[in-house]
């Protein structure tokens, strides 16, 4: 996979598999995910709940906890495979190089600590011998970057609104100027107007720092506003990855098409696109294509052979036999 603009790759994920152990067998939550994240880009990771998008992010961060486990794969950050690192080495790297804005960030702050202490913890854990004044200045600078008033410095989380707490989490995520930020559904619990404020804060901060970002979510409208490329996940695999414009204008994979068609709009009153939601048992994916049970274009081949990802247009990669067979015909 080569970027047309020849931007350097910051993060590379190869063949990542994360399974959850259950009495009835392993749930294949992330089942062979590959993607690259370029310098300064925002990559959207979309799919319905249970498709493995959050698990994939936890895999990248090496934060998978039992009963989950990373089965195989590589996560290369700066050429270093995170799977080879010890917990101690990883701890050095989290926040500093790779940070997370968690799902429901409003509940991830410690209710007994003032905002300044929480941000200070992040900074202290990584930078030794920083003077109190320097830390204080840095925290105030961070608050300003995310559009919060200075007063917030001395406040407890319960004194803040959801949108403000979310911005404190953004401030923590950028405190050590990481190379990659992973934002996991970080605005989905907020009201529309507040969501817009937080999303725009995130965009502004990202631009200012030139950091790369992976944004996980299911709101296609928000994705259209925020990201450069989109990776569409279904049942533990990336079925399509392309520039955001291509996903919206000419989605190639049948599942991406379904996803785009089901986006409600305020601009037009289109008929509802109803589909059946029966997915296979995640413990026993059928042989062949993972989308075969819901696919309107399913062919015999799809039940036998797993499609490999192919570039159907420049920068648009799709794992679907519909495209592969048409190429074979030509």
């Amino acid at each position: 996979m080569l970027d047309q603009n020849q931007k350097p790759v910051v993060l590379e994920v190869e063949g990542l598999r994360v399974y959850y152990e259950t009495p009835a067998g392993d749930v294949l939550a992330v089942n062979g995910v590959d993607f690259q994240l370029y310098q300064g880009e925002t990559l959207g990771l979309v799919g319905e709940s249970g498709c493995g998008k959050s698990t994939a992010a936890m895999g990248v961060l090496q934060l998978v906890v039992p009963p989950g486990r990373i089965v195989s794969g590589q996560v290369l950050l700066d050429g270093q495979n995170l799977l080879d690192l010890s917990e101690r080495e990883l701890r050095k790297l989290r926040w500093a190089k790779l940070s997370l804005i968690p799902q429901g960030a409003m509940n991830s702050l410690n209710p007994t600590m003032k905002v300044n202490r929480q941000i200070q913890d992040v900074i202290n854990a990584h930078l030794d011998r920083t003077s109190k004044q320097e830390i204080r200045d840095r925290i105030l600078e961070l608050l300003q970057m995310v559009g919060l008033p200075e007063r917030v410095y001395h406040m407890y989380p319960h004194q803040l609104s959801g949108g403000m707490k979310q911005r404190v989490c953004i401030a923590m995520a950028i405190a050590l100027s990481p190379q990659v930020i992973i934002a996991d559904e970080s605005t989905s619990a907020l009201d529309v107007v507040v969501q817009r404020v937080v999303a725009q804060t995130l965009l502004r901060v990202k631009e200012a720092l030139g950091v790369s970002m992976i944004m996980i979510g299911h709101d296609m409208g928000l994705m259209a506003q925020m990201v450069d490329r989109i990776a569409v996940m279904y049942a533990g695999k990336i079925v399509e990855i392309a520039l955001v414009k291509d996903i919206f204008d000419q989605p190639a994979h049948p599942y991406s098409q379904l996803l785009i068609e089901s986006v409600p709009s305020l601009k037009e009153h289109k008929p509802l696109k109803v589909t059946e939601g029966i997915t296979h048992d995640p413990r026993h994916p059928p042989p062949g294509c993972i989308f075969q049970l819901r696919c309107p274009l399913v062919m015999d081949q799809c039940r036998q052979q797993e499609p490999v990802s192919q570039e159907v247009r420049p920068g648009q990669w799709v794992a679907c036999h519909a495209y592969q067979s048409s190429e074979a015909d030509q």
Partner: protein
């Protein structure tokens, strides 16, 4: 009128000191006609009072003042028998399709319980037929779902089963409180479609409570947009969403992310952090401190609803008074 709400006000914490009072709903009026069946959307952000409204209609919350009138009868003063009819005629579907099931029972238990509670029928074969019919109405088949446990179904299926349960009782109104907010995007349409079909084919009206303007736009006939307990704007959904007049509703419509990478948000929204933290003004328009077009007048008294065109489109804003 099938359902009429008159001057409904709900104040929480009003018994003690007046300092901690929260006005969840203020002087709210609503009418749902008997026919034709319609979908009335109640839209608003968290804290706007939309769930208080749903709970007041369902009888879970007692209004501080005002009336909920069903079929001419104030439900606060209804006799026991009337109340039983009301409980049957007005059904509810809730937000969380995971929490409403008892995980120890198979899905069929949900239906058996309803049949027992309402004494719908005595014959097992008829039970099965009723259940099957209700499931078919929402696009499911008994053999696929009834013997399963809730965790074996998708969120969309679970929510459609709740619709089937409500439908089986042959209600006249279904209060659906955020029925699609926890369901995946690709399956959301299947639930909205069930609502439209029950309306068209079975003549069931809906009160559709949501924070999502785009789904309200897709299915709603009428819309009421609430802001901090009061109606900011109401009217035919097309009219309100296509041409919002209230500054808040304009901001709201404008903030819904457009699913088109070529149409980006214009400008940044800035609002005072105090306002984010909800220290609202004591009198006057609730939107005053966030409003870009505020007038002195707005602080004195809460604006009444002004008619803006010949339809039923009404806006609570002094800018409309001229």
């Amino acid at each position: 009128m099938l359902l009429e709400i008159r001057d409904a006000t709900k104040i929480y914490g009003s018994s003690g000191g007046s300092k901690d009072e929260v006005v969840a709903l203020q002087d709210f009026n609503l009418k749902i006609p008997k026919s034709p069946a319609s979908i009335t959307a109640i839209a608003g952000e968290s804290g706007s009072g939309k769930t208080t409204l749903a709970n007041a209609i369902l009888g879970f919350v007692k209004l501080t003042s005002g009336q909920v009138i069903y079929d001419g009868q104030d439900i606060a003063h209804a006799a026991r028998a009337q109340m039983k009819d009301y409980r049957r005629d007005v059904q509810a579907v809730f937000q969380d399709p995971f929490g409403v099931y008892n995980p120890f029972y198979r899905v069929q238990h949900v239906f058996y319980q309803v049949i027992r509670n309402f004494g719908l029928n005595h014959n097992r074969a008829e039970w099965q037929q009723m259940i099957e019919e209700a499931l078919n109405a929402v696009g499911l088949r008994g053999q696929d779902v009834l013997r399963k446990y809730p965790h074996q179904l998708s969120g969309g299926q679970r929510q459609r089963i709740m619709m089937a349960r409500a439908y089986m009782i042959e209600p006249r109104l279904i209060v659906a409180d955020e029925p699609v907010s926890m369901v995946d995007a690709s399956l959301r349409a299947s639930i909205l479609d069930v609502m439209l079909r029950l309306k068209e084919e079975k003549g069931i009206s809906f009160l559709y409570i949501t924070h999502d303007l785009s789904t309200a736009y897709q299915v709603g006939d009428q819309i009421y947009v609430l802001y901090q307990g009061s109606v900011a704007e109401k009217g035919a959904t097309f009219s309100v969403i296509d041409r919002p007049r209230h500054p808040y509703v304009q901001l709201l419509v404008d903030s819904v992310p457009v699913p088109d990478p070529d149409v980006k948000w214009e400008g940044e929204v800035v609002f005072p952090p105090e306002e984010e933290m909800r220290s609202s003004v004591a009198s006057g328009c609730r939107f005053y401190s966030r409003c870009s077009q505020r007038l002195d007048q707005c602080l004195q008294q809460q604006p009444p609803l002004y008619q803006v065109d010949d339809s039923d489109h009404q806006v609570a804003c002094y800018l409309m008074s001229t």
